[in-house]
């Protein structure tokens, strides 16, 4: 077994274990930390594929920024321990077959259209110098549309979080 394969399996195992632990934990902060482990393991997989820029961004954006906000909100609300239920009947009736069907479909598509050959290291655009032109020349329109999508999400959050305008605002005390 090559070093690459061993590392791939190790990172994959960490990612799957983290994902399972995320569901099994009853405390939200443990679930959030499991998700960070999944993100970090995925960054390791990207690194194995030679995509060091994507790996670094995965760590900075997801593990370092998005998940910090998750943990922050959990700490701020001081969310308590959740009750573990055995699951509703609807979830078992539709959820399990749905999940099986979904994974079979994904596996079929992947096997059918990409073959089972190995992905050579460096197949993905790795260094930032090759990613930059791709983002800002070839795929400029999708890139900008995605940023507008995120902007819409932010505006939605502001609208949802802001207080209704009819409520009287108490005068601010001078200090």
């Amino acid at each position: 077994m090559s070093v690459h394969l061993v590392l791939f399996l190790a990172f994959g195992a960490v990612a799957v274990a983290g994902a399972v632990n995320l569901l099994a934990q009853t405390h939200p902060i443990n679930s959030a930390l499991s998700l960070i482990a999944v993100m970090a393991a995925l960054a390791g997989e990207y690194l194995l594929l030679g995509a060091e820029f994507v790996a670094a961004l995965q760590v900075i954006v997801y593990a370092g920024a998005v998940m910090v906000l998750f943990v922050f909100v959990i700490m701020l609300l001081n969310a308590g321990v959740e009750e573990q239920t055995t699951g509703s009947r609807v979830a078992i009736l539709f959820g399990v077959p749905g999940a099986v069907l979904g994974s079979v479909l994904v596996a079929w598509v992947v096997l059918r259209h990409s073959g089972t050959g190995e992905v050579p290291a460096g197949a993905l655009p790795g260094p930032p110098a090759t990613i930059g032109p791709l983002l800002f020349h070839e795929f400029l329109l999708p890139f900008e549309i995605t940023s507008i999508l995120i902007l819409i999400a932010i505006m939605g959050a502001v609208v949802l979080a802001s207080k209704p305008p009819s409520a009287p605002v108490p005068p601010r005390e001078e200090n």
């Binding site: 670094a56 900075i60 920024a65 910090v68 943990v71 700490m75 260094p127």
Partner: protein, 355 residues
């Protein structure tokens, strides 16, 4: 290079860098106590050794043998993990920092940094330091103490806010160097100015090196230093551990070595900030190199260390001079002043480079 030699070189380099870093951490604490003491018209530590030079050893010994208390109502797994996260990621970020040009020993070129020169070095440092926030946040939460929780919340909000300005303040340097590799960034600052239009000024300009700070990144440097002070939770941004309102903030419930880990992480982060400022804005290891071969080999590393020392001294100087911000002032400054300033710097640098 054969693989065993590569591994051997890596182990030796890691050990040397770790020992030097930890010693530097210990003596930065000594320097801080001494300098802040003199600023406040006191002597600072004087009792242990000449000039109190053995004080860090005494402190370390005391922290090692002190009773390691675990308060009864903490959430234990995270309470223990938090200081480990803080110190591990603080020490890891030094791994990609180069200290000089590669040296050639017996025909093998060995880079003067723990890893080889990775082409996303700067991003790696940013990634590792952004993970370090969890140490502080989780310590505050798992202590089950309202002062700790408030300190942890303040720290995570502050670090996330200033991380954006920190990242943007570096973009100007990246545009000018055209690379994420720290080695390339330093190489882009080699040499000195030479004037073609005003030959009369040439002898003066020859003394000014082409460091990024002199080639237009002075606003970027200001943004970087301010954001970095906030990232490392130092005065005037040390709200997470403001002793007048929060006892000791996120590490209120920690004692002995667990407390020492937070302390060491803070100083290790200060050193990393100083190293990055040196590499990105002050030409890294570039400086006057002269004399016999051995001196030529040692001088670049000396210049690097000297510049880092200056930044550590400024850290301490600022601590002895400035008062602490109020929390709303801190947030308003970060979002309404520093972030727009960093953005303006990015746009101005981009226009100037393309021109």
């Amino acid at each position: 290079m054969p693989i065993w030699l590569y591994i051997l070189a890596s182990v030796i380099k890691s050990a040397v860098v770790l020992v030097v870093l930890l010693t530097a951490v210990a003596y930065t604490v000594w320097l801080e106590r001494k300098v802040v003491g003199h600023i406040q018209n006191r002597w600072g530590p004087t009792r242990v050794g000449p000039f109190g030079l053995l004080q860090p050893l005494a402190d370390g010994l005391k922290l090692l043998v002190k009773e390691d208390l675990t308060p009864p109502h903490v959430y234990k797994p995270l309470y223990i993990a938090a200081p480990l996260i803080a110190i591990i990621f603080a020490l890891t970020s030094i791994a990609v920092i180069p200290f000089g040009n590669p040296v050639t020993i017996y025909g093998y070129s060995i880079p003067l940094q723990v890893t080889t020169d990775v082409n996303t070095g700067l991003l790696l440092i940013l990634g590792v330091t952004s993970i370090g926030v969890y140490g502080v946040a989780l310590a505050g939460w798992s202590s089950n103490n309202k002062y700790s929780l408030l300190g942890g919340l303040r720290a995570s909000a502050q670090m996330v806010s200033y991380e954006i300005s920190l990242g943007l303040s570096l973009v100007g340097v990246l545009i000018m160097a055209g690379s994420f590799s720290l080695h390339d960034i330093v190489d882009s600052q080699a040499g000195h100015f030479a004037s073609v239009t005003w030959p009369a000024l040439d002898p003066v300009l020859r003394f000014i090196p082409r460091w990024n700070i002199f080639t237009g990144q002075i606003i970027g440097f200001f943004c970087y230093l301010t954001a970095a002070y906030a990232e490392t939770n130092r005065i005037p941004f040390d709200l997470p551990e403001a002793e007048t309102e929060l006892v000791a903030g996120y590490h209120t419930e920690y004692s002995a070595m667990k407390f020492a880990m937070f302390f060491m992480a803070e100083y290790a982060n200060m050193i990393t900030v100083g190293c990055l400022a040196t590499l990105l804005f002050f030409g890294g290891w570039h400086g006057p190199v002269f004399g016999p071969t051995i001196l030529k080999a040692v001088l670049p590393v000396f210049w690097f260390a000297a510049k880092v020392f200056v930044f550590l001294f400024i850290y301490i100087w600022v601590r002895g001079t400035l008062p602490r911000f109020r929390y709303d002032q801190l947030m308003a400054f970060g979002w309404k002043f520093l972030l727009p300033l960093a953005l303006v710097n990015v746009i101005a640098t981009a226009i100037a480079v393309v021109w």
